[in-house]
Each structure stands twice: as C-alpha cells, then as structure tokens.
C-alpha cells in the first residue's frame, strides 16, 4: 500500500442523539480509487459528511496528507485539496447552468484561469454546454448530476469524495464518469467513491471498503472484495434468497 493521502481514524458521531458512526476507521492510499460499499443506511454518506466537516464528531480524527483536518471549515478543506460531491440533488436552481459551474471555482486561488476551466468542463459534458444559459432547475435528473460533477471537479483537487455519482445517469454516462475517474487517477488524483453500482465500481477501483452499521468490516484490494463470497452474497446482489434478519 502506498502512502495514504487520507486517514480516517475511529470516527464516532451521528445526528442528534442517534449514533451512526461507531468507530469507522480506514485510509485511502494516494493515487488510488477506493470504493465504499454497504447496505442502505450503513452510514456511508455520513462518513463523507464527517470527513468534510459537516457532522459534529464525538470522537475520531481525519488526517489529510499527514495533517489533522478534523472539523476544518469547508473552505479550508477545499483549499487543502479535498472536494466533495454529495448524494442527491445539490444545484442552485434559480441560477443558470453556467453560473452554477462557475460557482465551483469560488474557493480557487486567484492565479488560475477559471473561464478556461469552465469551458473545459463544458467540453466534458456537451449536454451542459447545450443548456448553459438555462435555469439549472429545468435540467433533467441526470443532467443535474452531470452539472454537479462538473462543478465539483472545477478546482482540480487532490482528493475527490464522490457519493453515488451513478444515480440517475444513463449507462453511457456512467461509463464516461467512471472513465473520468480513471483519468483522474492517472493524473495522480485520489478518489474515494461510494457506489451501490458496486460491481462496476469495484472493477475500476484499487481498493474496496465494506461499511456496515457505521463500522468498516472489510478493507481490501478491490478484486479481492469482489471475489469475497460473503460480500457477493450480501452486498452485491449475488444471492437473492437472503434471509431476513
């Protein structure tokens, strides 16, 4: 395993009195794609929120490139090189598509050429270019997701946290998105991915993490996770005759 870019240590926290994370611990090797899988409600998205400072943690630490970034502001985290593309729909409906993308560069240092990056992003997602001046809320579900990905990557971060990007995307777009993640990895960017589309995701990943009830149960090379019979049966839809607990 190469040097970890992100080290998540013993996270404990949740919403109000409800504890969701019970000591989640894992690390993301630099320059890898790491995929987190697990049942619905396992706490995957909650881990991301915790890493990105959106959740009050009762215990635990988040180390990024050797530096403790627990509880830093989102702006500081973006500045450090982490970006987060959350689950669900997260656009600014009343602004135009182009303005939405431009907003992805808010935290950018002054010396980068934002307009050029916006153009580049629009090249990657031709649908968005076609609808650049429309109000973002009129986009279809999948188009909105593309918009979010384009916006999230505008800062060219070193670590991408991306939560279920494939929801709502057509198979062709899912392929493209995964290809894009692979390209990012080639450029040395690390990716931490949550996917329910677990087979395809693990196929492009270096490492796989299985999260259950707020704990990391399995951390291993992606192909080994994929081959693990328990995982196949329980989380990849391998066996349909699973017994209800």
């Amino acid at each position: 395993m190469s040097e970890p870019i992100l080290d998540v240590q013993n996270l404990v926290g949740g919403y109000g009195k409800m504890t969701i994370l019970n000591g989640t611990t894992f690390s993301v090797p630099a320059g890898s794609i790491t995929t987190v899988i697990g049942p619905n409600g396992a706490g995957k998205s909650t881990v991301f929120k915790a890493i990105f400072g959106l959740l009050k943690l009762r215990e635990g630490k988040v180390i990024f490139k050797g530096r403790d970034v627990t509880g830093l502001s989102q702006r500081a985290l973006l500045g450090a090189g982490i970006c987060y593309i959350p689950q669900g729909r997260n656009i600014f409906g009343e602004l135009s598509v182009r303005h939405n993308i431009e907003l992805g560069g808010v935290a950018a240092p002054a010396n980068i050429d934002l307009p050029a990056r916006v153009e580049a992003a629009l090249d990657v997602f031709p649908v968005l270019r076609k609808k650049a001046d429309r109000q973002a809320s009129t986009l279809s579900g999948g188009e909105q997701k593309q918009l979010e990905i384009a916006r999230g990557l505008l800062l060219e971060p070193q670590l991408v946290l991306i939560d279920e990007p494939s929801i709502g995307l057509s198979p062709l777009m899912v392929q493209q998105t995964f290809d894009m993640l692979k390209q990012l990895r080639e450029r040395g960017v690390s990716v931490l991915l949550i996917e329910q589309n677990a087979r395809s995701a693990l196929e492009i990943s270096d490492y796989g993490i299985v999260l259950e009830l707020g704990r990391t149960r399995i951390i291993d090379k992606a192909d080994r996770v994929l081959a693990d019979p328990r995982v196949g049966q329980l989380f990849l839809g391998g066996a349909m005759e699973e017994t209800v607990a």
Binding site: P39, V127, E143, I167, Q196, A245
Partner: protein, 247 residues
C-alpha cells in the same frame, strides 16, 4: 381487450424547448414495460404528463380506455394509478409509518368516514408489513426526512403500493438502492404483478434490473420513441447501443 394505459401523440414543450415530442404507446394489463433513454430525453416529463403533474401541450392519455388528459394527479390515483419519483419525495417531518398510512388512507372509505373513523384508517398492519419488507423497522417512528437516500427511495416505492394500485409508474426505483435489496424489490414487483395483475411502467438506467424485470422495453431519445420491443431485441438494437447503452 383495451390497454390499461394508452398514450397518443403526447407533446410537451417548455417555452421553446420540446421535451416530449409526440410519444405514443400502450401498456396492456399485467405487463411490465421498461422505459429507457439518455439523460434529458423526456422520460420523466412523459410520466408527469401522463399523471397530470404537467398538462401536455398536445395528445391524449387514456386509462382503461377513459380519457384522463389534464386530470389532476389525485383523480388519477383514485383510478388506481400510482407512481414514484425520481427525486426524493417523502413527507420529511412525518414518521415512516405515517408516511405509509398516508399513502393508503385516501383509498379507504369516504371523506366522512375518514374523519369519524379510526385514526389509522385501519392501515397500521399493512404499513408495518411494508416497513418490515424494506428493513426499516428501527426507523418506523423516525421522521422520514432522516432516512438515508436509499432508504427514502425505498419508502417512496413502498408508498406507491399502499393504495393497492393497478398501474404503477416507477421513475428510477433502483437509483441508490443496495443491489441485494434491489433483488428483493424485483422479486416483490414480479410477485405483485403475478398475484394482482398489477401493471408497471419502469424508468430505469440499471440495465440488469430493467432487462430482467420487464416484458417489453421502450427506448426514448430526444423526446421521441426510438424503439420498442422485447429486452433482447432492444439490447441488440444498434441505434439504442449508440444513443444509450454504449459498448
């Protein structure tokens, strides 16, 4: 035999943009029709036109041969047509159980009996069965807004079935749902389809799910029907591969 759902030449435009551009198809009772197509091709808009959430710019929609174009969603629901949504649509501050009871209550008794009768309209048992099936027991009394995305998606699907519908339009029910649970969901859909001859139209980008569930698949592109046929035919259709499936 008349089709349970008959869509004729439906068009919908927003300002200068035509999202749905003359779509016609019908669905026979007991069928499971898949609806696929690239992002932004007009699938959700078509659903909204059928279900009265949007008024189509042109065209007709019939349910059981009865013209329903322009009818309100609630009226359509009373005819036994229900749906799920692509984006999360639950009642965030109500408990999961109340969400489900709410989903079924208007199909019980009259307005007056709902005022004077039992407060759960006799639906607690049914709701709890649903909760059990989707493994939400520990959250039954929690507000639905606190569920994870995948759980909300499941709740949304569960709500669509509370009223015992004859025709259900599902908009990406699999998005974000764990594959194992998805298998259960598919089994469940098939069982309901067999037992109650309920009819489904399913928008989905998960090909495995669509192809194994549906008896027929319709492909849309740019607001029009590109192809319609058996899953195998569609999978092999070069136009579909190019526009939608990729290699």
């Amino acid at each position: 035999m008349t089709a349970i759902l008959d869509v004729r030449d439906v068009k919908k435009s927003f300002g200068g943009i035509t999202a749905v551009n003359g779509v016609s198809f019908d669905v026979q009772e007991g069928e499971i029709l898949g609806l696929i197509g690239p992002n932004g091709c007009g699938k959700s808009t078509l659903f909204n036109c059928i279900l009265g959430q949007l008024v189509p710019s042109a065209g007709e929609v019939r349910v059981d041969g009865k013209l329903v174009t322009g009818q309100r969603p609630s009226e359509l629901n009373r005819l036994g047509v229900s749906r799920t949504f692509q984006l999360l649509q639950v009642f965030p501050k109500l408990s999961v159980r109340d969400n489900l009871i709410l989903a079924g209550q208007e199909h019980r008794g009259s307005m007056l009996s709902r005022l004077l009768g039992p407060s759960d309209a006799g639906l607690t048992t049914t709701a709890d069965q649903m909760i059990g099936f989707f493994k939400l027991e520990h959250l039954a009394n929690e507000p639905a807004g606190g569920l994870s995305c995948g759980q909300q998606k499941l709740l949304d699907a569960a709500m669509a079935f509370m009223g015992g519908p004859r025709l259900v339009l599902l908009d990406e029910p699999a998005g974000g749902v764990n594959p194992t649970m998805l298998g259960d969901l598919k089994e469940r859909l098939i069982a309901i389809n067999r037992e109650r001859r309920a009819t489904f139209v399913v928008i989905e980008h998960n090909m495995e799910f669509v192809m194994s569930l549906c008896s027929r698949v319709m492909v849309m592109a740019e607001g029009k029907v590109l192809a319609i046929g058996k899953p195998d035919e569609i999978r092999a259709n070069p136009a579909v591969i190019e526009a939608y499936l990729g290699h």
